[in-house]
Amino acid sequence: MEHYHMNLTLKVWKQKNKNEKGRFETYQVKNISSEMSFLEMFDVLNEQLVAENKEPIAFDHDCREGICGMCSMYINGRAHGPWHHTTTCQLHMREYKDGDTIVVEPWRANSFPVIKDLVVDRQAFDRIIQAGGYVSVNTGNAVDANAIPIEKHDADESFASAACIGCGACVAACPNASAMLFVSAKVSHLSLLPQGDPERKTRAMNMIHQMDKEGFGSCTNIGACEAECPKGISLENIARLNREYLGAMFDGGSQNAI
């Protein structure tokens, strides 16, 4: 693709902290290369703001290669921008042309309060993991990782679910601000493997209980989460989580839950 430069108008959400009211600020950026990533374009803007003695825009980022799950921008109505199966850092400016206006908002959900500008607090996800997204392992000598035979199909399915980077795009995209896709991916990648089997019933119950406690909405099977997930986590995971929940419901062993 031809390399070109563009001038853009950005409408970016500015918010001092979670208690202050936020508002949109309009910025002009000039001479942006089509080969820059979306975050590099923000770096250019921030350098410009620093040079002008203005406050730069706060935004989350870390690895910038689509695996850490930190970047979290809602760009022109789309979580991580319009590209399929990519995070914001993987979105490139060749998507845009000279003179475009881009509206950038933070993830919006009551369970993800804004820390500053485009940075949101996603600790609710950490607390859901703490409620059951783990396997208990006895201390002692390390067990050989390949000691238990695992069917190839299950291993692949589990691996696909484990691709979830916990970025929260599912919550951001969901009209109900539901975290079911995240929770279902985390439940699936463990319950598909023999190591996750002993705690599967209490895990499903406890993680769903924590999800409700954090104030996420309930799933109405809309599917916007699947459409926006940068890692292609499928709704089949939510069906599996529902099966896990039903299984736990009818099983006495889940009495330990909650």
Partner: protein
């Protein structure tokens, strides 16, 4: 965890919606089959209507039907109300149809339209018939009643709008109820979606043809 706790979590409420929804789907099949008797003559329809209106088993199930219907409505409206409070600051730019079809996002609205239709529908046929059975001179001739009501073009249009709302509600409802019960695995999800769409079209087209048939005098 008690049964009460199990059914009152967010997933538990979905299961309530799913199970009551499946019961209502089964009811629609029976309702549709009985009403389709109009095309086999007045006698065939009245025999079926008499059975449905007087049989002890059917009348007992009718109580359950109303209980499930009310549970489905109350739970649905409460989910709708709660879910709309999960994002206090709205997005300035919305994804809309880019990430999901409109009817999946509009189940509460479509359900409310169906409820409004249902109030009109019950007050036209079910209500007067049960009243006459209990306090009046016995069962009404529902065939004649339909013939009379469906001469009014306003009533016919209301019924067609009711069918329209029902069709879209079912397109998502059939699939969604199966997804909630965890049946939409990789192997079955496409089949379930297609069966859901086919079911929605067939059932609502048959329902819609009834007022049209009377209005157009295809049946007399």
């Amino acid at each position: 965890m008690s049964w009460k706790q199990a059914f009152s979590s967010s997933v538990g409420k979905k299961i309530q919606m799913s199970l009551t929804g499946i019961f209502l789907i089964l009811f629609l099949i029976v309702h549709c089959y009985i009403n389709a008797q109009i095309w086999f003559g007045e006698d065939a329809f009245l025999t079926a209507a008499h059975f449905m209106g007087t049989n002890v088993v059917i009348r007992t199930i009718e109580i359950g039907l109303f209980a499930f219907l009310i549970l489905h409505i109350v739970q649905g409206l409460s989910l709708w109300a709660k879910n709309s409070k999960r994002r206090n600051t709205r997005y300035a730019v919305k994804a809309g149809s880019q990430t999901s079809p409109w009817y999946r996002r509009s189940m509460g609205l479509l359900g409310t339209l169906i409820l409004l239709f249902l109030i009109i529908h019950l007050s036209k046929f079910w209500g007067p018939n049960r009243f006459a059975q209990t306090f009046g001179s016995g069962e009404l001739n529902l065939y004649e009643l339909m013939k009379e009501e469906f001469q009014n073009v306003v009533i016919v249009v209301i019924y067609l709008l009711g069918c329209f709302a029902l069709a879209w509600h079912l397109v998502h409802g059939v699939y969604s109820s199966m997804q909630t019960l965890g049946l939409t695995t990789h192997r079955y999800k496409t089949m379930i979606k297609n069966v859901g769409v086919a079911f929605s079209i067939i059932v609502t087209v048959i329902f819609a043809l009834m007022p049209i048939s009377f209005y157009m005098h295809w049946v007399n």
